[in-house]
Amino acid sequence: MTNNLRVKSSKFIDETYKISFKFNNKTYYGYKGDTLASALLANNIHLVGRSFKYHRPRGIMTAGSEEPNAIVQLHKNTSRTEPNVRATEIEIYEGLEASSQNCWPSVNFDIGGINNFLSPVLPAGFYYKTFMWPASFWEKYEYFIRKSAGLGISPMEPDPDIYEHKYIHCDVLVIGAGISGIIAAKTSAKNGFKTLLLDEKPYLGGSTIYQNLEHFKINNQISSSWLEKEINEIKKIDNLEIKTRTSVAAFHGYNFLLARENLTDHLPLHQRDGKVRHRLLKIRAKKVISATGSLERPLVFDNNDRPGILLSSAIEKYSNLFGVACGQKNVLFTNNDSAYETAISLFQKGINIEAIIDNRENVDSKLVNEIEKNNIKIYKGYTVVNTFGYKRINKISIMQLSKDGQKVVGSKISIDCDCLGMSGGWTPAVHLFTQSGGKLKFRDDDQVFIPDTYPSDQISIGSCNGEFTLDEILSSISKKLKDFLNIKKTEYENLEIQSHFNKTKRNIWLLPSDKIIGKTKPFVDYQNDATAKDIKLALREGFRSIEHVKRYTTTGMGTDQGKLGNMHALGIISETAGSRMGELGTTTFRPPYTPLTFGTIVGRNVGEYFDVSRKTPIHDWHVKNKAKFENVGQWKRAWFYPKENESMHEAVQRESKAARDSAGILDASTLGKIDIQGTDASEFLNRVYTNAWSKLAIGKCRYGLMLNEDGMVYDDGVTTRLDENHYIMTTTTGGAATVLGKLEDYLQTEWPELDVYLTSVTDHYATISVCGPNSKKIISKVIPNLDLSDKKFPHMSFKNTKIDKVKCRVMRISFTGEQSYEINVQANYGKSVWDKCMQAGKEFNITPYGTETMHLLRAEKGFIIVGQDTDATMTPIDLQMDWIVSKKKYDFIGKRSLYRSDTIREDRKQLIGLITENPKEVLEEGAQIVLDASKSPVEMLGHVTSSYYSPNLEKSIALGVVKGGKNMIGQKLIIPMENKQINVTVTDPVFLDKENKRLNA
């Protein structure tokens, strides 16, 4: 390794454990404990990717989940490939392969980089303005844009990993295991609360754990040593569960949180098989303590985005935690004391610091003094005005700030460097707090938003609450925890704290330049290439709301959600528009805080577990007999049973013919069944169906139509009166659950005085329907004791009987227009009764048929299917089913709506039959129906709802809905198709046996 910038061993890095990995196809080495970012920096690599819009070279900027630039694609072209992985978070493992994304053909030579030189013509809103209009231009741009832009490549193969979900309930959830979180978790657990502590990093202790300056001490120990002892102690507490590599993605109301526990992403690929990769934790906490810390702010100046420009705190972390120097000629640029902490850390490790540029004119603190004592040059009251170097920073120029900070004065000074650290102060990480519904307040002193009102039982502590220094945190934490947890005392009441941090800061959101703003590129949102110039343009163009400016400039809309730049955007807007910052509000922080993989979200609900599938007791028989299935709701229904080389059409034609010529058998077990009992059952049915029920005799069946209160058809089915106060209702297969829900709603909320009980019995019974001219003969063989004569057992009646010793209900009802019997038997006898029917029907060529044939047979009879021939806009009158609407009943659900001005319109769409001029031509369901296709715009009269070739009528038949169709019998209409027009004639919807002779044939 020629460019080894590993400067000093760190206890967080295991230098005895060398790991090789590939970046852009080249092999490098790092150590166990490294992130991809720290390992690349140790190899002196800063250039990692290209920016989204201008394709500017970009490097590693941060050391955490807020990283906007260093996002990479892992394991390209494999099933485990993943885009948009932050190099600053992924831990290296043997065999890791990462590549730059958003650049083509390579990170070093990128065609899109030309956008950088075209940037005067690519201002904010450019994509909206250009590519959205005229629409036809988009086709031309699209290819180029898709190729050169975009954030990584989605995996193309099935995900080999396993994901799962887990529910966790706890008394206290602590988010973040920095010094505040550790103290809070220990206090909570030691007081008997079941506590859960989460941190996104693989280690505990936040930024304090690698803090080793003499300037920060607790009880006379260096803060990291003190904290290390605390961490060792909390690991031993029983009722404290600690999860690292676990990031909270969402904080919802009522203290419901989602967190992603990362279990295998740090392991070599061959060690991951069979293990759960990510676990989505669904946490319900009685109390939540947010200790999510804060994010360092960059500074906004011309060309502040070059590789080699990092946050000052990131430079400190790379040196202290990973033992890596980010550069050999380092310059720090700051408006507060934080950069001096970094400087002292670097200095102690022998890492060279060229200079510190400080916005502040008068600074006096122990940290600053120590730097001065060591002869490091500090430019006080200066700002960086420009940076140089295309793929890596090599020089900066600085100028003095005017007294008011609005301009630069004097002459330019150049400083050579290979790394520039920026510190613009700190922004509390309030994202989760605001997601939970919390309201923020603006603190003018140091220009930060901090939590104000809490919507649930929660508090924020530490720097996410705006307490940035060790003494601020530790002097208040004890009282806060006592109040929040309602406890008498903590171990942290009298800590002796030494903290030499001077809090003064000189906040300038957009630093002045010697150039006019139009000639500069001061980036605010690095990932989306939004500059201060773009924000000012948006304001000039009239945008005022922060939400509008965000969308127009795309500030904060990247995968990092603008964690670094949102505050600067707000600051620049308020300065430009002359409004106070606290009054502008903030943009909404939406979950997830950091991106989640789809795998994590779906968990185990993949493949056959994606949704529940329901199977009838006869399902295995259908499978064995080669049925094709269709999904109806969650049910698997036999669709048709192809023989040998039969097509679907051939199978359906054969099945349909057999059912009418001799006998067919259908598994109807999926129909919804609701058992209705109670002394008011008849009255109840009167109110929910359109027709009258009081006079239905025991042992009789009746077809019923159910409406919504708006008069539109909702469901239909046959209901049978089993006894004086006992009915069984059938519903459509898909409607069973919602019908029961609706009936319960009316019973409980509108008519609680009715004595009626509803029970879903759909799964309790198997239903076998045998139809056709020979059905009677078959049933008489299966149930020899049952008198099947039309006199004793007429159409629309039912009998309680037995097959052998098994009780069953037989209904003589028909959905095909053929004589037909429906046997309902306890579900576990379903298969044996089916077999008996098949056996008895053998001599009559009994033919099993599926849903497709059922649909065809009912269409021949003009019977509707709710949901196919109706949508939620069809009344019974529209369906030409006036006969089922009782005139005598005073009220039923939907009755009043049947004579609203809209429902009595003559030109409503009405159900009709359609016959094609060419009897072989089968219409397409959904096809439009028009009268005159030559007039533009063509008036749409309606559409085809059901269409089949009828083997029994030997012609094509269709049902459709047409405006005013009722009065159009005989009318010729046109179905315009892509390449032709089909001539049709409107007919009555009943095509076969209008007199119902076949029912008793």
């Binding site: 009522y254 909320t749 009043r896 709506s897």
Partner: protein, 93 residues
């Protein structure tokens, strides 16, 4: 996700429940006596307020019982839950 205290089962996750719109809209006893406008008022008009709202909820994946809820829609705070037929608490009116 709310935690909802079903008056029959106790505290449960929101995912077990379904919301059923505005509460205390009584189905007219004599719909045939109503004008189109009066019927439309019952049929279509529902409040959607930012603030305290009276709502119907049902414990779909539990006891299947309907009940009423007083909820502040601005922050999802559930102020009261009471059974069907019980008088709504007056202090939120």
């Amino acid at each position: 996700m709310f935690l909802i205290h079903c008056p029959y089962c106790g505290e449960r996750e929101q995912s077990e429940f379904k919301a059923g719109g505005e509460a205390h809209i009584v189905r007219p006893k004599q719909p045939t006596e109503l004008s189109d406008d009066q019927w439309a008022e019952y049929l279509f008009m529902r409040k959607n307020i930012k603030g305290v709202q009276f709502e119907r909820w049902v414990h779909t994946h539990g006891c299947r019982k309907w009940f009423n809820m007083v909820r502040d829609t601005s922050n999802d705070e559930i102020k009261a839950i009471y059974k069907m037929g019980e008088k709504p608490p007056t202090k939120y009116k």
